[in-house]
Each structure stands twice: as C-alpha cells, then as structure tokens.
C-alpha cells in the first residue's frame, strides 16, 4: 500500500479514538471527580456561590453540550482557560513543554544511545565476567529509588560540591543548561539500568539467529556482524520501545521537575488533578492520546524503513 494512503487511513482512525477518549474523560470527570466549584472557592464556599460558579463554568448545561465542547476542543485545539489559574491553556502547555523537553529529551537521547552501545558491547562478551558485572550494576541501579538519587544528587553534587545548580530554571539556550545537567544525569541513572537489560535481551535474541552463524562462518569481522547485521535486525523492537516513549517525554518528569524547580508539564498536570481543573486535565489527556497515536504511526512507518520485508496494510 502507498505510504501516504496508509498514513491518511491511520489518521482517520484517530477520530473514533479521540471521541472515545473524550467520552472517557467526560464520564470520569462527572462521576468521580470532586466538585470543581468547591475546590475553586476553597474554605469560603457557600451553596449560593457554588451554584453561581457552576452556572458560570457551564456545568449546568446538558451533558450532550458539555461533551460536544470537549470534542470541539479536541479538534480545534482551543482548550480555553484553566478554571484554577485562569491562564490560557495553550500558553500553559507551550510554556511547560519546552522546559520539560529540555530535561527529558537529552536524558532520553543519551540514555538510548548509551544503553544500545553498552548492550551491544555486553552481548558481544555474553556470559563473561564483564557481561555479568554490567547486568549486576544495572540491577543495582534499578533497585535504588528515584527519590534517593534525587535527594543524594542534589545534596552532594549541587550543595556540597557545588558542581551544579541546586534548583531553578532559566529559559533559552544556553541559560537552561546548568539547571538541567544534574537532573539529566539522574535521568540517566534511572533509565540506563532497565534500558541496557532490555536491549541486551534483544541483542542476545538476534545473536543466536542462523544468519549470525552464517555470517561468522563466512568469516565476517565481529564488528561488522554486531553493527551491520545484529543492530539492524534488532531495530524493530528498539524502534517500538523508543518511539512509544516520546509522547511521555513531552509530558515531563514529575519528580525531577518538582525537585529541580523545572516548570514543566509534569507539574501543570499534577496541579490540575489536585485542583479538579478539568479544562487542563482534558487538554493534557487529549494531547497525550494524540501524541500516542501519532508516534505509533511513526514507528509503523519506520519499520518499513529498517526492514523492507514489512508491508503496510
């Protein structure tokens, strides 16, 4: 099938998915969520003012109209204003997405590159002391809680040694760099362990395939076997694993953002949940759903690039 037709067809599939996502958030908001007027008015809420506020927020309109509003916002990207902060949601997302990405993207990129390199390396030395040592280190790194890395890193490297900023953020390159260095390093500590173990398993699966044995019997150099054949054939699971993580990068890393004072989307989402700020929750849910669909599509298309046997249907 032509790739353009495939992409268009997949994009059309997003419509029912978005409608479904809108339905789920609408039901959850109306059934489970606490009364937003109560939260907005705080300790001085009165029945009269809550009723007035419900009217002003449009919560007294029919369910159908409210649902249509959500659907409309999903297709126009006009999410309106936050109930809690009165800020324009599109601006909040724009302002939050960049700080989140300055933290998560370098962390994700470096962790992926390092993990793939290390996993190729240890799979080459599979079963040796080096391989076991790396696996042991990975498991140890995974066993330590993220909070421990953050608290220790912030106290020791930033406060005691003064190598990094304790917390804070400046917008624009390169001003933000000193503020994200330590969080990125902690991100690496948190992700390299599981990533290396995952990629190593993929590499080992490939190494025992017939074509590797054939390549070896043909007398090919081990470097060529590892980089040209094994890595290329391992690309499909690698793409699946990495591409699907990208939407979550935009959503930020809540703990790291909170501790390092990075004004990203993680904090915005958490604040919205805590204050029953439905328009923000709605916007974040819709955007997440869209990002997941789009990146799934990208990974499908990439399969055809790395493996010509894959056909789009």
């Amino acid at each position: 099938m032509n790739i353009q037709v495939y992409v268009i067809r997949r994009l059309l599939y997003t419509i029912p998915i978005i409608l479904g996502a809108c339905g789920i958030i609408f039901i959850l908001f109306n059934l489970v969520s606490p009364d937003p007027t109560l939260i907005m008015l705080g300790k001085h809420a009165s029945a009269k003012q809550m009723a007035e506020l419900r009217e002003a927020l449009g919560l007294n309109r029919s369910y159908w109209l409210q649902y249509l509003d959500i659907v409309k916002s999903a297709f126009t990207f006009d999410f309106g204003r936050s109930w809690a902060t009165k800020q324009e949601i599109t601006s909040m997302i724009k302002q939050g997405a960049i700080p989140s990405l300055t933290l998560t993207f370098p962390g994700f990129f470096l962790s992926t590159v390092i993990s793939i390199c290390v996993s190729l390396f240890v799979s080459f030395y599979r079963g040796t002391f080096l391989d076991r040592g790396v696996v042991f280190i990975c498991v140890t790194m995974m066993s330590v809680s993220s909070l421990a890395y953050i608290l220790f890193g912030q106290w020791f490297f930033a406060y005691k040694l003064g190598w990094f900023e304790i917390s804070g953020y400046e917008s624009g390159f390169p001003d933000f760099v000193p503020y994200v260095l330590l969080p990125v390093l902690i991100w690496l500590m948190l992700t390299i362990g599981p990533d290396v173990r995952f990629y190593r398993t993929i590499m080992l699966d490939e190494i025992y395939q017939d074509y590797v044995r054939t390549a070896r019997s043909k007398g090919l150099n081990e470097k060529v076997i590892m980089f040209k054949h094994v890595l290329k054939n391992a690309m499909i699971p690698i793409i699946t694993y990495t591409v699907i993580q990208i939407p979550f990068l935009i959503l930020g890393a809540l703990l790291l953002e909170n501790f390092f004072g990075i004004p990203g989307l993680g904090g915005i989402t958490l604040n919205a949940v805590n204050s029953s700020d439905f328009p923000v929750i709605r916007a974040m849910t819709i955007l997440s759903a869209l990002a997941l669909i789009v990146f799934n599509l990208i990974s499908d298309v990439l399969y055809t690039v790395v493996d010509p046997r894959v056909r789009l249907k």
Partner: protein
Amino acid sequence: MKRRTFTLLSLLLAFALSFSSCTKKQVTNEKVLNLAVSSKVKGLDPIYSNDLYSSSEVARVYEGLLEYHYLKRPYTLKPNLAAAMPEVSKDGLTYTFKILKGVMFQDDKAFPNGKGRELTAEDFVYSIKRLADPKLQGLGWWLLDGKIAGLDAWRKSNAAKDKVDYSEKVEGLQALDRYTLQFKLAKAFPQFLYSLAMPFTYATAKEVVDHYGAEFLNHPVGTGPFVLPEFNQSLKIVYTKNPTFRKKLYPSDASEEFKAIGMLEDAGKPLPLVDKIIVNIIVESQPRWLNFNKGKIDYMTIPKDNFDAAIPSGKNLSGDLKEKGISLLISPSLDVTYTAFNHDLDLFKGNTKLRQAMSLAYNVDKSNELFYNNQALPAQSAVPPGIAGHIVGYQNPYRGHGKAEELALAKKLLLEAGYPGGKGLPEITYDCPSSTVSRQIGEYFKKQMAQIGIKIKVMTNPWPELQKKITKRQVMLYGIAWGADYPDAENFLQLLFGPNKAPGANGSGYNNPEMNRLFTVAALLQDTPERTALYEKMTRIAAEEVPWVFGVHRQSFVLSHGWLKNYVATDFEAGQATYLNVNTKKKTELSEKL
C-alpha cells in the same frame, strides 16, 4: 585512541561544568530580596488571589485602602491609600474615606502615552464592582456577599445581562468626589474594615483591565512599590522598584517587642527598601532548604524534615547555623487545628458525653511533641491567642493530657453516653488529607481512642476529595485546620455558627441555638468590651460542648540570614516585602561562610 576518548570526555565535562560556574551571582550593591514560594502562582489579578501565594504577589504591585501596621501587635489597621481612617456613622453602617492625592498608577502602555494616571475614588468603586462581577466570579466575593447596600442586587441584575454594566449605580458604593469614597453597609459588619486590607479589594485601573482583557492577570499594573512588566507562570518572578511610587516612609512607631529588637533602625526611610525582588518557585522542601543554606534565599520557614538539624534542642538554633549568621524567629500563628465531629450524625449530634469522652482520651501534649516539636500551644477552644475572645489562662475541662484520671473520666463519660468500653459504637472513620503528617496524626488519634475502646479507621484523601466528603456530609470525623482571614475571633467562631453549615465554613455542622444567638448579637457589635465578653462566653461554650476535639495553635519557625533586616513574622504577609531591607556589605561578608 584511549587518550583521545579521555580528552574528549574531559572537555565535555569541563564544558558542562563551566555552565554552572558562569551562572554564579555577581556581588553588586543592588539590594535584591530573594524569596522562595512552595507553589506555583496562579496569576496577579486581585479578585482571584484567594491563596497565600497569589495574594502575596498581588500585594507587591497593588495596594488597598488600608493595611496592617507592620510593627504593631495585636494587629492594627492603618491607612494605606486612604488619607486617614474612615469616618464611621453612629449606626456603624456608613464608612467615608478620603483617598490620598497624587498617587499614581504605574506606567503602562494601557494608559495614554504609557504614563500612569492618578488614582481616584472611582477606581475603588470599579475594583469592588469587579470583585462582585457575576461573569468574573471573583474568589473573594464571600467577603462582601450581603454586606454592601445594593451590591448584591447589582450582581444579580447583571448576571442575566450579556455585558456587565459598571456604570449602573450601587447605593452603598459611591465616589462622592474625586477623592471621597463612601460605603453604606446593608447591615452592621464591624469586620468590614479588614476586608479593605485584603488583596481582593485592592485598586485596579479600568483602562488596564479593558486593555489586556483576559490577559489582565499577566499584566499587573497597580500603585504599589514594585513593578512586574509581565507575569509568566513558568519562570521565576522578578520585580523591580516602582520609579513612580509615592513617598511612603518606614514606620517610626512600633510595639515595644519590636522596638527592643531594633526594628526602628530604618524609621523614616522611603519605601521600598530593596531595588529588586526575585521570587523563586521551589515546590519541594529539600531544594528550598539547600538554597537557603547556600544564601540564595533570604528567609524561610524550617521544613519539618530539617527541624531537628536546625533546632536540635527544640528551642535554640544549631551552632552551625548561628556561625553562619542565621537567626531564628518563633512566633505564634493565628490558627487552630482540630478534629471535627459530623453533627449531622445522630451518633454525635446529641451526645455531648461521647464527644467529651473522646476529647479527654486524646493526649494533646503528646501530639504536640510528636507533630509540632513541642512548640505549638494546645488549643483550649477555637480562638487562638493574640485576639480578643481568647481567654488567657483558661483550661478546657475536657482537654486530655494523658493522665490516668482523665482516662478514667473519659471511660465514665463513655459509659454514661451509652457505650461502656466503646461497646455498641460502630467503627468510626477519621478522614484527613493524604500528606504523611496528616496520616500520622490520624494514626495517633486512632491509638488514643483505642485506650477507651473506640475503634477508628483512618481514611486519607487528596484535598479535593476531603473537601467533597465534608460538603456532602460523607465523613464521621475529620482532621483539619483553620487559619485567620483577619484578626478577629468572629473569623474562628463562625466555624461553629449553625447557619454557616457546609458547604459553608462550618464543616462539622455544629448547631447550638445559644451559640448562634450569641454569635448573631456579637456580629453586629464594634470592638468593645461587651463584644469581647460575648466572644469569651462562646469560647467557654465551645470548650464545654466539644463540637470538635481541639488540637493546637501552631507556631511558625522562620530562619533568616544576617543580612536581612526588618523581618517580623506576620499572619498577613501582603505587603511585607515593602519593609524588608538587605545589608549588602554584610551579605558579602556572610556569604563567605556559606
């Protein structure tokens, strides 16, 4: 190859670290106040400033008619944008203010030629109507709801219109001339003047609101001491001194306690005393604490986790911090913590003896030790010390201190209540917020009640969920606290006023006709001995009736660096930064030790 890799890695590390070093602050003579807040600031629109963080930020740019005297305790109101305290009619219903002349709004492009204009009485009329605007749903409307003659009607009539008509006259809110403002109240409300010191009623200019529309909250333009050209929620907030700020001087009089600690050193100096304020948003306590220790924040409340390290003895500052020139300020807060009974339940409603038994079984001293480092004051009733209505030396007869005879009495009362040894009582749920400390307090309550055979189940809830449960009356017991909106016992006693039942502030639903009657009488009286006597009577009734198991009145523990001058603890922080000063020479010296 190895050498090349090593060189490359070294270069990368040096490059990365050079970023850190290049951001180190340069020491200048500019006086900069560095502050930290633990929550994102919503925006800078006075009518939405219903949380501590937003109201503090609003008060750097905007001002109100009145303010609390910075150096007087008990809290005393004084004129700010008003030229003097108002003339009050004999019936206490009409308040006439003269506005200061020559006060200018900050320069902004919303004004012709970008030059701020003079503040007038009409600006207050507009600002207060804006708070009442039904389309805007200002979060401080509770303050004036039913208080100003004609304002509720104006709000109601405009709710149905497409566009709110600000030109429509309100009987109780009028500018008599350019500098005279008159309020007529719908009923006596002696606490009215406190409303005019709260950020909700601060002066805004109509042309600025019209110019920026919905984005007004990001473009604050007031008459205040600091300027913020544009607010961006994602960044730290940097204010600079307002070049057109009027001549306002640091106070020359103070309460004895403040005189004694040299708070009048800057007396008579023009305000503000610093050139710039930087507000850092640091949500977590560890980075706030570390930044303070590095001198990047000038003062902060001690986080609970660092309390033992900062004050090892429980009262005195650690030697390490003293050496760095850091000082400690302990001051009582106008608040009360309590465990409320749901008085809608038959179990608690008519059963005073059960409530008394539970209060006696609860050892408040131990809770003070466990959760407040033994620094809070056990509450005897609802009204905290420092305001009229609190009875100095009064001991609540049903206050438990862990004594055997108190437990024996609790068991006796439980028997008389019809539940010998707790038999016949259902398992009682205790709802609280989901923070670690709240849960621990809940577990402690459970343990205390087990002593007399009462079974408690602790339920933690995210804050919105707890609010919902209280409002929908889905709680049996719940742990909560109340902080003062203004320094008047009415603000605490209204929590026990029957008609204020949830979703009003009386979440417990306590409804005692005698208490209601006394409250209604006191609510109409000015600050007189007669009113204090009524407040005290209500305090005693609350103590004996045990509508809640009273907790404590907390104290604040604030650390400040030696270079920070004029810091005093206050329950009403709005405008505080105007009075703070930084000794730059001392900062340079002390920074070496950090």
